[in-house]
């Protein structure tokens, strides 16, 4: 089938198999490999991207469902060499180790900070429940998210 969408501010026309998941469309057809696959039950959040500004797990969305939508991946977050404030906060606070969960964690954070009415450790922890990390024990991720929240408010 044919779809037309915007990915990282660029218009994309694509021809794809109906069953193609958004994550594989991004990774394999567009070469945007920053978005990762970490499970097969929509549990880990490594594939999180923004769909019309809201975080979604791109393994749970058909590419067809993104027809006409605006998709932002980790590659589209920074302004050139300038890291997005959330990326900067992760770097500043050692919020990543192996880096595999990081793109999903960062994209989930961007969306979470838009949604949160009150910035608190408890709210951040609950808000990131759908994103798993095996390296950091979440300590510095939470610290980074709180710092990014402070910086952008």
């Amino acid at each position: 089938m044919q779809i037309t969408l915007t990915v990282n501010n660029a218009s994309v026309d694509a021809d794809l198999e109906d069953r193609t998941l958004l994550v594989y469309f991004l990774r394999e057809q567009l070469g945007l490999t920053g978005t990762k696959v970490g499970c097969d039950t929509s549990s880990c959040g490594a594939c999180t991207v923004l769909l019309d500004g809201q975080s979604v797990k791109s393994c749970t969305v058909l590419a067809a469902q993104a027809d006409g939508a605006d998709v932002t991946t980790i590659e589209g977050l920074a302004e050139g060499d300038q890291l997005h404030p959330v990326q900067e906060a992760f770097r500043e606070n050692h919020g990543l180790q192996c880096g595999y969960c990081t793109p999903g964690m960062v994209m989930a954070t961007v969306s979470l900070l838009e949604e949160l009415e009150e910035l608190s450790e408890a709210n951040v922890r609950t808000g990131l429940e759908g994103n798993l990390c095996r390296c950091t024990g979440y300590h510095n991720i939470v610290k980074a998210v709180l710092a990014a929240g402070e910086a952008t408010r």
Partner: protein
């Protein structure tokens, strides 16, 4: 400025590409024309394979090839436990666990390979199976390998009665449940065959902690000369002990690429990973004798390691690190440790964060708490009175380990102060007195562990490039720990070359001639020490060159604050590193050095943790409130990275104590094969951690560093379990197995309230009476290998 970097919280140099999303892991590599593999796996835990028919799969769209084990004719892989335990990368006559690969389908897309795999017909004859290691060792159990005549893969017993003379003996049967390694990136490979005339016949990209070991194993498997194969690990999404060797699917991928002459890829799904990359699993029958004063008289342990189907290293850990560490940080005059390693119809176990040392600490720290309870002593006090003291190092344990350095009491004191221990006990007393539904538990653990064991040292090289930048090549293979940062800090600190002018190279057999990899928390203390040694040699060479060119005494030549090499206090008389490299090049020399660093032995980090939990006595739910860790890994090079290792380690220990369990049903079918069913925690379940360090340097390397990668897990697991039990001990509960799930906690409380609290002890299985006598072999130089 030279000399000012080490010991500082330097931000990581490797982060930008990870944050921009531009870094490449194996599955991200653009490989033109790559075919995709998908494995047909046994749905049965134990079955005779009467036939594999791939003919229908070959008719499916996009399928290029499909092979059974006999089609590929691969050599077997031999277990380290017994040479009769052999594994064929694709099972031939028998499937021995649910998930055992039986056939492989090769197609132009992953989806087509999966569809093709559906069309492979395998004729299985189901056979009885056993998943429980104790049941596997009982007479009449279904055998994993008929050739052995039993499921005992290895084992032996020591002699004597270490409990003789005790006033009080405490006993328990403890289960250190099976846990999954579960790095966020599972196993993954890409193989590119070389065209005729290419430098390499095969290039293997693999997510690995030990690419040089993979290289060696692959050359042996396929009869390749070392120069014919290049192994590269690009970015790796976590390792934790699970990515150490040539796994079955990688061997198949190599074989398929060789046969078809086309590049192939395989990416392990999470469902495959959770039934394939299994960590530790151990059952412990342990007894400790005390004098009424609280002084330890002796320890008797009977351990059962679960090796899974193909005799995995995970089972052997009971005979290695757990036994070796059985004395822990205490004065224990006598230790007897008997070990049986069982084969089961489950995925083959391997190493996972801590690898045998969490189990050693778990048994000791449960027994110490039981001893404290029996003798009415405070858990902190009974530990303190039994610690080895700081004037006793170096110290040889009764299990034969040579402890390099330590100050155990200092770490316990620091942890108790940081926790506000006395105040916590006061709060606990108040909650108990008030009969609150939410009871407070305080768990203490002290540990000592082994890092950088093993007879092999590590390779490190430093070279000054013509432009004055530096290149580090090292044989360790980081998977997210921050080696690029910490190793570059060593070079920058000594040579005055800025961090962003240092190139860090690892995990490529074309660039690094040899390497032990990153396991057993060895990297900084071995690889870092090698890089440090090479840096010193480069500095000496640069200094003598500069002295010659500047007509100065080499003793007067230093690196100045601008990173130039010149006469101390005379800024005009200095040369840049690029000028020195150019001079060396004119003379046909490289400004470079290589070092193979070999330490005198393993190092022994230690520490103490205090964990605070809240238990809802009506529902059994446990909420971890605080976790305080004081871990001593010798001298700290970058506190930011050390704290990061502590955090991740603590989360893992806490997760095993409270949630994670890779479980099988009675018929050996896995029941926790996805992230939807396996209890891996999210940020919502864990608290922030309170971590700090004492610093007791090791004399074994110039950095004074020991390992920190696994300490958090080793210290946290027992302190969290102890905290849960402590929260309800006043109700009569004596022990709760891990994971301390709401159901288990609730049942333990109910049983105690009804006046029949479970006795944690039961009679050890009969297998221990028939184990052969242990033959003590001298450990290899540097101690036994740990992962």
């Amino acid at each position: 400025m030279p000399g000012s970097l080490l010991g500082n919280a330097v931000r990581r140099v490797e982060d930008p590409e990870l944050l921009f999303g531009s870094g490449r892991y194996v599955d991200d590599l653009p490989i033109e024309g790559a075919l995709h593999l998908f494995f047909v796996r046994s749905p049965l835990p134990h079955a005779r394979i009467d036939g594999v028919d791939v003919s229908r799969a070959l008719q499916m769209p996009g399928v290029v090839a499909a092979y059974s084990g006999s089609d590929l004719g691969l050599n077997s892989m031999v277990s380290m436990l017994d040479r009769r335990i052999v594994r064929f990368p694709l099972a031939l006559d028998k499937a021995r666990y649910a998930g055992d690969p039986v056939a492989v389908v090769v197609a132009t897309s992953v989806g087509q390979a999966m569809d093709g795999a559906e069309a492979v017909e395998v004729d299985y004859e189901p056979l009885p199976a056993v998943a429980d290691p104790e049941a596997a060792l009982a007479p009449g159990a279904p055998l994993v390998f008929d050739e052995l005549g039993s499921n005992l893969a290895a084992g032996d017993q020591e002699s004597g009665d270490p409990l003789e003379g005790a006033d009080v003996v405490v006993r328990g049967r403890f289960v250190n449940q099976r846990v999954a390694v579960a790095p966020m990136e599972g196993n993954v490979v890409a193989v590119i065959p070389g065209a005729p005339g290419d430098e390499y016949r095969l290039t293997l990209y693999v997510a690995s902690q030990m690419p040089h070991r993979v290289h060696e194993a692959a050359c042996a498997q396929f009869g390749l000369a070392p120069a014919e194969l290049r192994v590269v690990s690009p970015l790796v999404g976590g390792g934790f002990g699970g990515k150490t060797g040539l796994f079955a699917e990688a061997a198949v991928a190599l074989a398929v690429a060789l046969r078809l002459g086309r590049p192939v890829k395989w990416f392990e799904s999470r469902s495959e990973n959770l039934v394939g990359m299994d960590g530790r699993s151990q059952v412990q029958y342990v007894e400790m004798g005390f004098k009424t004063s609280g002084e330890i008289v002796g320890l008797r342990a009977r351990l059962i390691g679960d090796a899974g189907a193909y005799g995995g290293f995970g089972g052997a850990l009971a005979m290695g690190p757990t036994r070796n560490m059985a004395q822990g940080p205490y004065k224990i005059p006598k230790v007897r440790c008997d070990v049986a390693v069982a084969l089961t119809h489950t995925s083959t176990t391997g190493a996972f964060r801590g690898a045998g040392r969490p189990e050693a600490t778990a048994l000791l720290e449960r027994l110490m708490d039981m001893g404290a309870d029996a003798l009415d002593l405070d858990p902190a006090e009974i530990r303190r009175m039994n610690f080895l003291t700081k004037d006793q190092f170096p110290y040889t344990t009764v299990t034969g380990m040579l402890y390099d350095s330590g100050d155990y009491e200092a770490s316990l004191d620091a942890a108790l102060i940081a926790a506000g221990y006395d105040e916590l006990r006061q709060q606990q007393a108040e909650r108990r007195a008030s009969g609150s539904r939410y009871q407070l538990g305080i768990g203490v653990s002290s540990y000592v562990e082994i890092t950088a064991g093993g007879p092999n040292g590590e390779f490190g090289a430093v070279e000054i490039e013509p432009d004055g930048s530096a290149t580090i090549r090292v044989g360790t293979a980081g998977t997210g720990q921050g080696h690029a940062t910490s190793f570059s800090m060593i070079v920058a600190d000594r040579l005055g070359i800025p961090l962003d002018r240092i190139r860090f190279v690892q995990s490529d057999t074309a660039e690094v001639p040899r390497g032990g990899g990153t396991v057993g928390s060895r990297s900084l203390q071995l690889g870092g020490a090698a890089v440090s040694g090479a840096t010193d040699l480069v500095f000496e060479r640069g200094r003598s060159l500069a002295a010659e060119l500047l007509e100065a005494d080499p003793e007067d030549v230093v690196v100045d604050e601008n990173g130039r090499v010149g006469v101390s206090g005379v800024p005009a008389r200095a040369l840049s590193w690029s000028e020195l490299a150019a001079t060396a090049a004119q003379r046909g020399e490289r400004l470079a050095a290589e070092v193979d660093f070999k330490p005198p032995g393993a190092t022994f980090p230690f520490g103490s943790h205090v964990s605070v939990v809240e238990v809802d006595v009506e529902t059994g739910k446990v909420v971890p409130l605080r976790h305080i860790a004081v871990d001593d890994a010798g001298r700290v090079l970058n506190p930011l990275l050390v704290a990061g290792q502590q955090h991740g380690g603590i989360a893992q220990g806490m997760a095993q104590a409270l949630w994670e369990h890779l479980a099988f049903d009675e018929d050996a079918n896995p029941v926790t094969g996805t992230f939807a069913t396996y209890g891996i925690p999210s940020a919502a379940e864990v608290p922030s951690y309170e971590v700090s360090n004492t610093e007791t340097p090791t004399p074994y390397n110039t950095l004074g560093a020991k390992g920190i990668g696994e300490s958090g897990t080793i210290g946290a697991m027992p302190s969290v379990q102890n905290a849960v039990i402590d929260a309800v001990s006043h109700l009569g509960v004596r022990h709760i197995e891990m994971p301390t799930s709401p159901e288990r906690v609730w049942r333990a409380i109910e049983a105690a309230r009804a006046g029949h609290a479970d006795d944690p002890w039961r009679r050890p299985p009969a297998i221990f009476e028939s184990l052969p006598e242990r033959v003590r072999r001298p450990p290899p130089p540097g101690g036994e290998e740990t992962l």
